[in-house]
Structure formats: structure tokens, C-alpha cells
Symmetry: C2
Subunit: 211 residues, 2 copies
């Protein structure tokens, strides 16, 4: 069985994206620093999900970094040439989590662009505006979930096909520099989740384009 | 009859916001460079809507700049002290409309902040993620429309109260510097409207937080 998608990480987003990948009929591999955590998540997911340590070269053509921003940078630097020709999905949000009022990246940059500068893989920004809960559930308040995607044309198309297969709506917003706007808006979305004035927002919302 | 809200402009957004202001039971004044256009819109709107020339001092405590970014800057400079103590709503999007790929403001700035630097009024960013069609209709694909608001606390609250009275949901995202993220995301929203791959998007969509 050849692996389609490798997910790095075992947190809530790793679990949610694994659920969607399996729903899309993809052959999945979960890798993590903590091998036992990867094995445990793979066993829980079932459907032949493979697992291993994050130091292993990922088997999937699409590799999803279900990691915080800093850990994503460390991962791509550690993997080096093993990521050549891969499509690397960056889901991270470089938010100052102490204040939820600013990004940790420089103006005119983005986490995705910083990661892309460290690897020869084709980096695609996706899923950063999605919280784990709605993503795992596979819907946004009853509607098909919107997934915003920024990246090079060919890689973006591949990610869009995965998103469609997983039952969500891909919204391609252009080149990787548009990760800036996706990450910027998610700062606002996160701040709203911790804003006591918005009592209904508890990491359970989805950013949607209604028509 | 004292005026609650003054709207500057007679375009699609001026018309849509006028419709919402009247729905909120507000006493409305429409001012424009072209006095006849203002009179015509006021007559069409009815409900006692006043009109006049944009050179007049606005009567409303809330003044909505239903103008493009450059025209908004010109307006506040021309009005000067007449805007003291006003709440000024900036709805503009500083988008490069030739490419729909970049903003015309500098990184780490925003149209709202540039306008605020030119006036002693309290500038609030709102309605910039809303297109005129859904705003005039008063709903987002059947749902209550979300209005993102950035600005100083007291002024933001006043705008949020107007939004609620007009039948929409205010989502306060913080200080005026967060106009950066609101304007950034609307660049993506606009680019999607002109993207032939998204055939259903024709300036008829709404950015919503689904829960």
C-alpha cells in the first residue's frame, strides 16, 4: 500500500486532518517525535494508517505539518533533502498567544513564506483558518467547510483535489504570499475565540464564504 | 429631526448602507460632491432622508465614508475640524484593482490608519468585508450578516450598536490597527470574485463566521 499523505504531529489538528484524509480514501501515515503517540493515533484511526518517528523520511507525496510554526521550521530543516519534490502543507498561525493581538512574523512576510525559504519542497498554505473541532466534524455549522489555499498553481491544485475528496470546499486565493492575509485574519478569528464578549465562540467556529 | 447618521457618497455601498441605516430606524443624511445625485438617492430612499453637498459639515454623530480610499482621504482633509468628535466609519479597501493581487498601502499599515492620521475624528473600520448586494439585501445567503469592526473601544461600541439595530451581527476585532487584517482578507475576497474558476462568486458573497 503506497502512502498518499503523511501527517506530522499528533495534536488536535493532526487528528482532525487525519480524519478528513481517511474520509477522502487516502492512505495515511502519521509521524511524530514521540513514536508511541504516533502509533497510538494510528491505531485509533485504523484503516491501515501507518506510523513512525518524525525523523523518518515521510512517504506521502503530500506532507501536512500539523505542528506549531517553530516546530514546522525545525522539522523542514531537519528533514532537508528528504522533502525534495514533496508538497508541504503549512497550517500554522504565527500568533503571539500571550496577547492574541499580533503576529510573530515581520510585516510583509508570513509563516508559510518563512518555511518555504527553508526547504526545496513546494509549500502550500491551507487549513490555517480552520479549528480542529469543526474540521474533525467535517462541517461548518451544518454547511460544507471552506478551506482557503495559497501556493504555487500545481501544488495548490493537488491540495484542492484532496480538499474536495475530503468533502470540503477548496477556495484557492493565489500564490504563497497570500498566506499573509490568511494568517492575518486568523489572528482576528483566534482573538474572537478568547474574547469573553463573544460567549458563543469557543474554538468551534468556521470562517466561511456564504453565497 | 436630528440626524443620527451621515453617509458620504451615492454609490452602491452608500445605497446599501443607507438602506440598513433606515432599517435601524436612524435619521439619515446623504451628502455627495454631486448634490443632485445626493438629492436623487435621498428621494429614492424616502423616510425623511436629508441630502446636501459633501462640502457641508455632516450632521450625524456617525459619518460613513462610502467612498474609495483616496476620496476618503480627500474628504477628511477638506472637512478638517468639522469632523471633531465624530465617529467616522471607513469602509474602504486599498486594493490594486488592476491586478487584485496586492494592497496599495504599505506593509504594517492600513487605509483606516492612514485616514485616522489625517483627522481628529475617531475612525472605525467596518463594512469593508461586505459587498453592496448582500448588504442591501440584509442577509448573507439567508443568514444574519457578520460585520467586522475595528477601532477604539467607545466608538467601536457605538458602531456595533448601529449594526445590531440594523439587523446584522457585529464582530468587534479590536483596535484600529486590526484594519490591516480586515483589509488584507478582503483583497482575497475580491480576487475570488473576479476569478473565473469560482463561477458562483460574483460580488454576491459574504464573509461569515459560522458556528
Amino acid at each position: 500500500m503506497s502512502i498518499d499523505i503523511t501527517i506530522i504531529g499528533t495534536g488536535n489538528m493532526a487528528r482532525a486532518l487525519s480524519t478528513r484524509a481517511l474520509a477522502a480514501g487516502k492512505n495515511l501515515q502519521v509521524l511524530a517525535r514521540n513514536t508511541e503517540a504516533a502509533e497510538s493515533l494510528a491505531a485509533e484511526l485504523g484503516q491501515g494508517t501507518a506510523s513512525g518517528n518524525a525523523t523518518e523520511a515521510p512517504a506521502g507525496n503530500i506532507v501536512i505539518l500539523a505542528l506549531p510554526f517553530d516546530a514546522s521550521k525545525e522539522y523542514v530543516q531537519a528533514q532537508g533533502a528528504a522533502l525534495d519534490a514533496k508538497i508541504l502543507i503549512d497550517i500554522s498561525n504565527p500568533v503571539d498567544f500571550a496577547t492574541f493581538d499580533s503576529l510573530t512574523t515581520a510585516h510583509g512576510s508570513s509563516a508559510a513564506e518563512e518555511i518555504a525559504a527553508l526547504t526545496s519542497a513546494s509549500v502550500v498554505k491551507a487549513f490555517n483558518t480552520n479549528f480542529a473541532g469543526p474540521l474533525a466534524a467535517g462541517n461548518a455549522g451544518g454547511a460544507t467547510q471552506d478551506i482557503f489555499i495559497a501556493g504555487d498553481d500545481a501544488s495548490r491544485t493537488a491540495v484542492a483535489e484532496f480538499v474536495t475528496a475530503a468533502g470540503m470546499r477548496p477556495l484557492e486565493v493565489g500564490g504563497i504570499h497570500h498566506a499573509r492575509e490568511l494568517e492575518g485574519f486568523q489572528l482576528l478569528m483566534m482573538a474572537m475565540q478568547v474574547n469573553p464578549a463573544l460567549a458563543d465562540f469557543n474554538w468551534n467556529t468556521s470562517l466561511q464564504v456564504a453565497g
